[in-house]
Amino acid sequence: MYSDIRVALKMIKIYSTPTCPYCHTLKAFLKEKGIEFNDIDVSSDSKAAEEMIEKSGQMGVPVSDIDGEIVIGFDKEKICQLLKLEC
């Protein structure tokens, strides 16, 4: 029970651009799994873009920040592992 609550309370940020196909796929995947996340459009928010580059050490989207753990690209396996999801 406790672990379920932890999953629900995880702080998830997705840094994306509106035109990026892998960002769309990632967000659709999270929605399908019922996971809430904060979608940050780095194409219109240059401060957020800098934050993403600082955190991930690179300049490609998507980047996921799951409770401080950084995942670069749509790495389904790693994201499932961090969110304790069955994939």
Binding site: T17, P18, T19, C20, P21, Y22, C23, H24, T25, V42, S43, S46, A49, I53, G57, Q58, M59, G60, V61, P62, I72, F74, K76, E77, C87
Partner: protein, 316 residues
């Protein structure tokens, strides 16, 4: 796990083959790294019937929704199609004695009576010094993804074919200056309208008859060096981003030694039936030696390969 047909790939050829196979009630598995393939990164697709001007990701979504109607347990009919996404096929072997095949992915081994290979093409990567250090740190292969991150930055596009020109056009919305490195002395490719637009765009500077020599930087890319083919002169220019569009290679390495391929690595197929050099294995779309690489042609080839597989299974 046993199947009558395994389709390898996730692009238009593979999805179309899967729909045709499912409707023929063939027990089918589709294995793909990601649905959409190269089409996903297409910026705007203007030449697919019925849906002009869609982004590659949106056309992929339409195709995938259509495909999933034929999935087993979709509730929309009695079909026997399974889809496994996020899995990569590494190897195909002939199963001993049975005349069937073993398809080995990075997760499992499947047994099947027939196979359609529709893995398309993979982008060609840069090989100059600096490539490895700066991939993702200024070097990118996906303009539709990353172009917006280069607002007010100086960028270079390597490769001036159709995709390179399209990338330059996307970047005109964001970058302050765009160098287009062209190996030839004029712009090649099909889209004459786009070429005219690029010539008039003050931000764009085409460097003709040049090749990229190396990429420099510290944490991120800061400059590149190119050489002029004629004068042999080398020149360094400051750039923050490098977008790579130097073509693609067929994604056929996992069937090397099993199927006959041409000198480009494309799987040789009979152009009427998509039959390869091994009976029971078919191939469709951009991974094959068909001349034109287009979404609509791949979709047609996929359909053709599934009908051929159906006939093969019936007469087996």
């Amino acid at each position: 796990m046993n199947y009558e047909l395994i389709i390898i790939g996730g692009g238009p050829g593979a999805m179309s083959a899967a729909i045709y196979a499912a409707r023929k009630k063939i027990k089918t598995l589709l294995v793909a790294k990601i649905l959409g393939g190269q089409m996903m990164e297409g910026y705007q697709i203007e030449n697919y019937l019925g849906v002009p001007g869609l982004m590659g990701a949106d056309l992929t979504k339409k195709f995938a929704e259509h495909l999933k109607k034929f999935e087993k347990n979709s509730g929309q009919g009695i079909f026997d199609l399974e889809i496994k996404e996020g899995e990569e096929v590494k190897n195909i072997k002939m199963a001993p004695d049975s005349g069937e095949f073993e398809v080995c992915s990075d997760r499992r081994i499947y047994i099947t009576k027939s196979i359609i290979i529709a893995t398309g093409r993979a982008e060609r990567k840069l090989e100059v010094p600096g490539t490895k250090e700066f991939e993702g740190k200024g070097i990118t292969y996906c303009a539709t993804c990353d172009a917006p991150l280069f607002r007010d930055k100086i960028v270079a596009v390597i490769g001036a074919g159709d995709s390179g020109q399209d990338t330059v056009w996307q970047l005109t919305k964001y970058a302050s200056k765009i160098y287009l490195l062209n190996r030839y002395n004029e712009l090649r490719g099909d889209d004459k309208n786009l070429q005219e637009k690029l010539k008039k765009e003050p931000k764009v500077q085409t460097l003709s008859e040049v090749e990229l020599i190396k990429i420099l930087g510290d944490k991120f890319v800061t400059a590149l060096v190119y050489r002029n083919f004629r004068s042999k002169e080398e020149k360094q220019i400051e750039v923050n981003g490098i977008f790579v569009e130097i073509g693609s290679t067929p994604a056929s390495s996992f069937v090397k030694g099993l199927l006959r391929c041409n000198e480009k690595g494309e799987i040789i197929v009979d152009h009427n039936s998509c039959v390869t050099s091994v009976p029971g294995i078919f191939a469709a779309g951009d991974v094959t030696d068909i001349l034109e690489k287009q979404i609509i042609i791949s979709a047609g080839e996929g359909a053709k390969s599934a009908l051929s597989a159906y006939n093969y299974l019936k007469n087996r």
